[in-house]
Amino acid sequence: MIEVRWHGRGGQGAVTSVEMLALAAIGEGKYAQGFPSFGPERRGAPVEAFNRVDDKRIKKRQRIYRPDVVVVLDPGLITLVNVAEGLKPEGLLILNTHKPFTEVKPHIQFDGRIALVDATAIAWAELGVPITNTTMLGALVKMTDIVKMESLSEPIEHRFGRIANKNLTAMKRAFDEVKLV
């Protein structure tokens, strides 16, 4: 089972990310959960959302404390919350940032694998808004193979309708541009 924790800000669509990922996994015949952090979320405030993906039926309904992967949608969050809290040492941290790793590193309490992508720039270019939820899905898929890229098409087309293609392009760019440090 892979457990993923997403960090974003209220309004950035972290909940949509976990929904798209869960639907893609279920579409592949896998078992998955996608759920928000169960709170009264305010626009701009730090929020979390979660995924579990497995080949077997998932019984666990407790929150995720020891994720395998953490995805951070907003570059500013690393100075506000410990995004690596509970992350397994052999796990993976994927950050949206335009900064070089040397500038990010002091804020990260994690010695394991870290991947960076400038998702905000991609989102501005492809979507015209700094909303990185679908973009970061591309980075996650590249780094983990949690689902296949094509499995995300249907959920994203269903959710985003006429702007689905822009989201799929942004996702594809993050897939290509994400780099392990």
Partner: protein, 391 residues
């Protein structure tokens, strides 16, 4: 053919309700059940369901509208949570006394205060004695299935009672997961159209909800009690039919590794499957631990409970509600009463868990069961314990 889908469970509950072709939906949004009526309003607006969607100004009006609709012979549905259920309270008992088979989904949530939008069972437990049938779902699939079953149970000529389907707020309502969604043809085959016993009609006037003078009120209560107790037979029949048509088995108390268990835990709602993982771990350690998942809360399955705990030395009952000033949680109170007259019964411990959204993990269930196992020789000192509470 049923289709495997991924969907948020609240939306799936709305889809399941829509497949039952309700004539009237009257609901007022309240977290965490909001997505149920919201999605139903979309389904009606899209023209997928020919129903009257009444956007009422309160839960009191929602349940009143359901009473009127059901009284006029319509299939009526609503959904609520927490304070919304409390606001309906005045009408809830009237609905069951009038034998109106309204179906309601409750996205279970703690009661204020302090203000909490998170999950426990305090809402439905505060409305325990209102004469409704109460089912508890443990996952998305059970939510879908029980929503459809609820209409058939409620509207059965031998029942004609309102039925609520309880699903834990957030822990179920807001989770996207895979489910098998029946199609319209399958549901139509399972659920016949609603045939009211008596319906309000100006051309053929009847009185529903008449005054009950002291010479008849007691008898009215007795008949309500009798029909609720007798509804268990119908519930079991409906579950059997469901199993035959859809292949998924439902029981008032679903056992897990319980057959040879010396220590049994009992859960109700969404924590059952997490508790199953604790049982698996304890079995690996060699402990004879098992689980009972209570799905039918009202009418309470007394006989099934007695049978299920027969071989156990210790029974750990979990409750997601506290009866203030009483002797623990409502489920444990019921279980103790049910087993009191038994010559041989297990030692019963009661843990109050998961109040107002407090997370309960596999490790916690393991610890509760381990502690309880030691209670074998001696009776517990306290009637109940609020697990993990900071004092």
């Amino acid at each position: 053919m049923s289709k495997r889908i991924g969907m948020e469970i609240a939306l799936a509950a709305a889809e399941a309700a829509a497949l039952c072709r309700p004539d009237v939906i009257a609901a007022y949004p309240i977290t965490p059940n909001t997505h149920v009526p919201e999605h139903l309003s979309e389904i009606v607006a899209e023209g997928r369901l020919d129903a009257e969607f009444i956007t009422v100004e309160s839960e009191h009006s929602a349940m009143s509208a359901c009473a009127g609709a059901s009284g006029a012979g319509a299939r009526a549905f609503t959904a609520t949570s927490s304070q919304g259920l409390l606001y309906m309270a005045e009408i809830l008992a009237i609905i069951s006394s009038m034998r109106l088979p309204v179906v309601m989904i409750i996205g279970n949530r703690a009661l204020s205060g302090p203000l909490s939008i998170w999950n426990d069972h305090s809402d439905i437990m505060s409305q325990r004695d209102i004469g409704w049938i109460s089912l508890f779902a443990a996952n998305g699939q059970e939510t879908v299935d029980m929503t459809i079953q609820a209409f058939k149970i409620a509207e059965h000529p031998d029942v004609m009672l309102p039925t609520n389907v309880n699903l834990d707020g957030f822990q179920l309502t807001h989770v996207v997961e895979p489910m098998l969604m029946p199609d319209q043809e399958e549901v139509d085959r399972f659920l016949p159209p609603f045939k009211p016993f008596a319906a309000l009609n100006p051309d053929d006037p009847v009185t529903l909800g008449a005054l009950g003078l002291p010479d008849i009120y007691t008898e009215a209560c007795k008949s309500r009690e009798e029909v609720l107790l007798n509804s268990k037979k119908v519930i079991l029949e409906v579950w059997k039919e469901w199993e035959e048509q859809f292949g998924r088995k439902y029981e008032p108390i679903e056992p897990y590794e319980a057959e040879d268990a010396e220590v049994l835990m009992l859960t109700m709602g969404s924590m059952g499957e997490t508790a199953e993982m604790a049982i698996d771990e304890l079995r690996k350690e060699g402990m004879k631990a098992g689980l009972l998942k209570l799905k039918l809360w009202r009418p309470f399955p007394f006989e099934e409970l007695k049978e299920a705990v027969k071989g156990a030395k210790v029974l750990v009952v979990t409750d997601r509600c506290l009866s203030y000033g009483g002797a623990g949680g409502p489920v444990a109170l019921e279980v103790r009463s049910a087993l009191y007259e038994e010559k041989k019964r297990p030692v019963i411990l009661n843990y109050i868990i998961g109040l107002g959204g407090r997370d309960v993990m596999v490790d916690h269930f393991m610890e509760m069961i381990r502690t309880a196992a030691k209670a074998d020789a001696e009776r517990p000192e306290k009637a109940y314990e609020i697990y993990g509470v900071r004092e």
